[in-house]
Assembly symmetry: C2
Homo-oligomer: 564 residues x 2
Amino acid sequence: MSKKRIVVIGGTAAGPKAAARAKRLDQTAEVTLLQKAPELSMASCGYPYYVSGEVRDRAMLLATPVGVVRDPAFFAGAKGVAALVGTEVTAIDRAARTVAWKRAATGETGHLPYDKLILATGSMPKVPPIPGRELAGVTTLSSLADADGLRAVAAAAKGGQAVIVGGGLIGMETCEALVTAGMAVTVVEALPHILSFLDPELALLVEKHARAKGATIVTGVGISEILGAAGKVTGVRLADGRELPCSLVVMAIGVSPNVALAKAAGLTLGATGGIAVNAHMTTSDPDIYAAGDCVEVLNRLTGKPMLAPYGDLANLEGRVAGENAVLGDKATFPGTIGSGICKVFDFAAASTGLSERRAREAGFEVVTAINAGPDIPGFMGAKPVVSKIVVEAGTGRILGFACVGAGNVNRQAAEMAMAILGGLTVDDVAMADLPYAPPYSLAIDHAIGTAHIVQNKMRGLMQGQSCVAVKGRLDAGETPFLLDVRGPKEFEEMRLGLGETLVPLGQLRKRLGEMPADKNAPIVAYCKVSMRGYEAESILEAAGYTNVTVMEGGLAAWPFALEK
Amino acid sequence: MSKKRIVVIGGTAAGPKAAARAKRLDQTAEVTLLQKAPELSMASCGYPYYVSGEVRDRAMLLATPVGVVRDPAFFAGAKGVAALVGTEVTAIDRAARTVAWKRAATGETGHLPYDKLILATGSMPKVPPIPGRELAGVTTLSSLADADGLRAVAAAAKGGQAVIVGGGLIGMETCEALVTAGMAVTVVEALPHILSFLDPELALLVEKHARAKGATIVTGVGISEILGAAGKVTGVRLADGRELPCSLVVMAIGVSPNVALAKAAGLTLGATGGIAVNAHMTTSDPDIYAAGDCVEVLNRLTGKPMLAPYGDLANLEGRVAGENAVLGDKATFPGTIGSGICKVFDFAAASTGLSERRAREAGFEVVTAINAGPDIPGFMGAKPVVSKIVVEAGTGRILGFACVGAGNVNRQAAEMAMAILGGLTVDDVAMADLPYAPPYSLAIDHAIGTAHIVQNKMRGLMQGQSCVAVKGRLDAGETPFLLDVRGPKEFEEMRLGLGETLVPLGQLRKRLGEMPADKNAPIVAYCKVSMRGYEAESILEAAGYTNVTVMEGGLAAWPFALEK
């Protein structure tokens, strides 16, 4: 058998994984990795922490867990892979089965034959055609060179002002990094709220937190122009005319799959613009695989292709592509459910599966619930989390779960991702047997509690509305009877201040006379997290009230200003 | 409709949950809770942290998240439940549908009629008939009174010596509490290792950690006598004759279901000794439910009943019992998979599903793998975790997963519990889409990596053995070629010192001449975590070696002493 020649284009995540996997499974194969950038296997998701200075040593972004930098010598020795850096592939000749390459530093060019080719060309930051985008001081956070530049700017610009265009994952991580580095940061998001993978109920809580940490968040308006003088950024102008002075603009409105080579080679692209692949990560050419940010993958919940440019999926896709390139198309990548998490100051914000908005867009009829509460018992030093669950009406199948807060969002999101992957229903999660001890979770785990709430709603045992929905009713001029059922001390410390009536839950059975005379009058009951609000609904309904709603998550989930 | 009378016996976890749920779902019901102890809704899983002083305020163990103590007034006002404390039920008259009660403080007695009765009588600590068990200074950690006593002893006995009999969950939590409180602690476990829910590979790592934290762990030998003078404990004698001086003995060899009332009333008990219930938590009497530590429940993996005395399950079972008591037998508790976690100093130790031992005992043919590594990327401040996965041969279904270490065991165990509940296979988990960002997980999540390893083993791509198995071979006189493929600096810092040969992975392809001349000679390859060990196997097999084994988890999973 002649040696199989495997060529991999791209050296960040999917590429190195594919190359290493291919070589491990076929030590006779000649595996060559071509990388345009000077570095290999960069931990690009770590760039924000490098910009902030939290990651002190640049080499750590490039090193194995024991500190060996993943350079060409490492790839040759440890992985048996020939890695060529600073080497751009300029064309693919599918008929000849060769790629043409060029080394920018030397001008050298050449061709490399392949039996199987793996494209891992990644993505590029979107930069819309805004006037001024060419000014010095306008950057993205896409490459390690970008990160080096931003780190230097941030370190030098103590007290300076930065504008981040886009309040997605990278935008918010960069926001934290620059605030941590001492800059005054404004995030400008054209959509109604940041972190579009979240529904507004949770996204607005993250915004509130980011503001409390000193960031300025501007939503619902885009950038019309980047202003400058002498070739340098001096500010941005928003679509509504406002001007924000700044010396640094970070464009973080998302990424596009880097498909130029694939397109030029005539490979099929999908409707999303990513390279079309099947479950084996095979492109329209059976000798060419693709993996990572450059492809579109199946959303397992909607059944439709989507772009999912995440480092974890890139690794899994690369593993499949690498294996199939040497062993034939047997391994499969089943697709994504859209799991993500990001750190925004002291909050984590995570989502897995579909948000309510995306579920409805995909045609699902859904029931949702919001739950706020501690992550672990109070006596162990609890921190709050707020979650939202999205459930398919009828089947009870969990379609989505999101969670934000200072508490242990990570466990909640990871376990619910597995629940969604397992096709679990609300009833399944409501009775799930999860590891419990006070340092690690509540006796009734937060996500299980969330399932209990939506289960109660689905069975008609609880009528609930989110804080955002209640605020919407108030803003629309409705005047429900707002019933706060907390204790007087709690009321003194924090309250809506919107004309609510305080009747502590423990006294409610005896003070029904203070409720509206009209038993059909709308009542909105709540407490700190609305567990007592739910008890109140139960008591009021037993007393004949017909229009009682619980404000889900209570004051802990109220994303707007409070009286105090 | 006449008001339904619901009587609940037991006020710790399952009882209060059942009572509150019943009342919420039927506000017309008269719900009465009878509790022998003076307190209600005690967070008993928090006792160790109260003993150590970490939980400063006793009331926090009894309070709601907003600090309201759950006393009878709270239950009456907030929950609409009449809770009678200090009130022991002495008998159940099933024909008359009444319970007889007695108040120890006053000698008062009485009867209470019920339409539906819920037993939540909990468990009692096992105290074997060891001579000396009646001495002052011998205690358990079962009640809040026990916790009060232990806390006082620990606070007073700075420098004193304590022996804990039993190295299970409570034993090890108590060990940490007493060491933290300043005592010299010896844990005596009659079984070969502590934490019997773990297989030895992981349990021995926890022992190693506990020893490093100052605890003495004695395994494989029981206690034959508790020694005393003047009615007070002075030491314990082990079955092998050794004597350990101490002023405090904590018996923590487990709990038995408290079934005296149920047995006297003629209710059916299961083979395990717990009250037999169906999925509706109904006992052999359709008007009597039972929930919590006193019942036996279905193990969903073995299909057999088991005792599962855990606070989280008690709550879920109580919720089902309470609902069914008022709405009829519709709600179901699906059973347990045996999920648990505990903190042992800076380690967490968790298990979900079956250990290898329990899976084999249940008749499963299994494949296992051990994985050691960081919980998050090194540049974010990783901490190590070690896990073991147990997979059903043939189907690939995950039967069990355990994880220990200083890193984020909690997320790993919770997500894998959900994977087991969802019936996921190794292939499913190997391609799972979990939330990833550097502060929260690896790009290839640790549990996904563990699935990759066992998948490689099942496909014959990797031959692996645990450190315990390798040690067993060495102890049995085998002399495999031990191949350490780390770097020289790593080798200087830490090594087995058992005659191993160091050939860094990156040089292995060129230094095959240093391998045994006999291509069939047994070789054991490893590194720090054995990722490089696996690469080495692949290289050596390609070079014709036929008997290469990877020592799974590498030195990070080696639970025995190292040369350095």
